[in-house]
Symmetry: C2
Subunit: 205 residues, 2 copies
């Protein structure tokens, strides 16, 4: 059955992205062949090579599709007029709050942290990831600056260290949870750890 209309082609593309997402997350990027992906989507490699340049391009496309909402959540401006620390808390806990429910986010983080070698093959996807990561860090840094400026954090606070620390904290917990999801509740541990870290910032001398 050859698909013809643009809508059907777009649907095919999504099927391929779905299959790639699932297989990459289950078996690892380099251990998944394009043949397997096409098969899982009920297609052939011809479809993949029509929609994507190669495996790296497919990975990148899959990556971009999921990374967008994550990026938006963390880089969103303070529309609700939350106080600075509450804003930071809600942003950095976003991942832990959604990774259990949203299989797509789970798959992305699983691929990034456990199922993907950072190498030439994944370079373009990785560059995209790093670029978004930097944007998130800049926004978070600005949020810390605001918190310091408004007195929510003491004036001597090192915003750069605070940002790197809290970012590492949530990613590290996520990393451990992905390795052993049954070991602990990522939501609880992330929330209490973030609260603890922010409390430590507030009361530092």
């Amino acid at each position: 059955m050859v698909r013809k209309t643009k809508e059907e082609a777009a649907a095919t593309r999504l099927q391929l992205l779905d299959a790639a997402e699932r297989l990459f997350s289950e078996k690892g990027v380099s251990h998944t062949s394009l043949h397997e992906i096409a098969l899982a989507a009920g297609l052939t490699r011809g479809a993949i090579y029509w929609h994507f340049e190669d495996k790296g391009d497919l990975l990148k496309a899959m990556w971009e599709r999921v990374a967008l909402p994550i990026h938006d959540a963390i880089c969103s401006s303070n529309t609700n007029k939350l106080d600075p620390l509450t804003l930071i808390r809600s942003k950095v806990c976003w991942m832990a709050d959604h990774i259990e429910e949203d299989p797509r986010i789970f798959a992305l983080m699983n691929i990034v942290m456990l199922r993907c070698e950072f190498t030439d093959e994944t370079r373009s996807a990785r560059d995209h990831f790093l670029h978004e990561r930097e944007t998130c860090q800049r926004h978070l840094l600005a949020d810390f600056d605001t918190a310091i400026a408004t007195g929510a954090l003491p004036p001597h606070t090192n915003a750069e260290h605070a940002m790197q620390g809290i970012f590492g904290l949530v990613d590290g917990i996520c990393f451990h949870w992905l390795i052993q999801p049954q070991a602990f509740c990522i939501r609880q541990v992330t929330h209490s750890s973030v609260d603890c870290f922010l409390a430590g910032l507030q009361r530092s001398r």
Copy 2:
């Protein structure tokens, strides 16, 4: 040149481990062939198959060689009679204090976090890693219990959450640093973040 004596054979084995360590860290585990490893060690695949069962076994052996000192550092008993929080601090900062100097530790963490897909091929090595990881966590948990029992931390402290949090913190910072080593000083950020986290624990209600 065929090597004969047991000492020479042992040296050959170490050469293979060295080559594997370097290439795995540079190119990723699945993107490094046994042929490349043998070539880098000035040998052939025959030598690898003599000393190891397959790629997974080689990875596991390489892993065990480096993981041991890390394990010892974190699971060591409190011989210096440090106060509980200082002990915890020194243990969890050990990695950040050594990863820049020791290329072997750098390679191991780089492989674990960025250059290795957690999949069937790496299963035996991963299981070993997870087992040591659990041992470290148990020791660290005991250290937190001691800290609570001696009053260094408030009695209502959740030791399990604290352990997961601080472990995630240092691993997450390590993860980010490996992705972009030039972005920040891992030692500084780790130390200040750990201090901050422990301060938060101390002054929590």
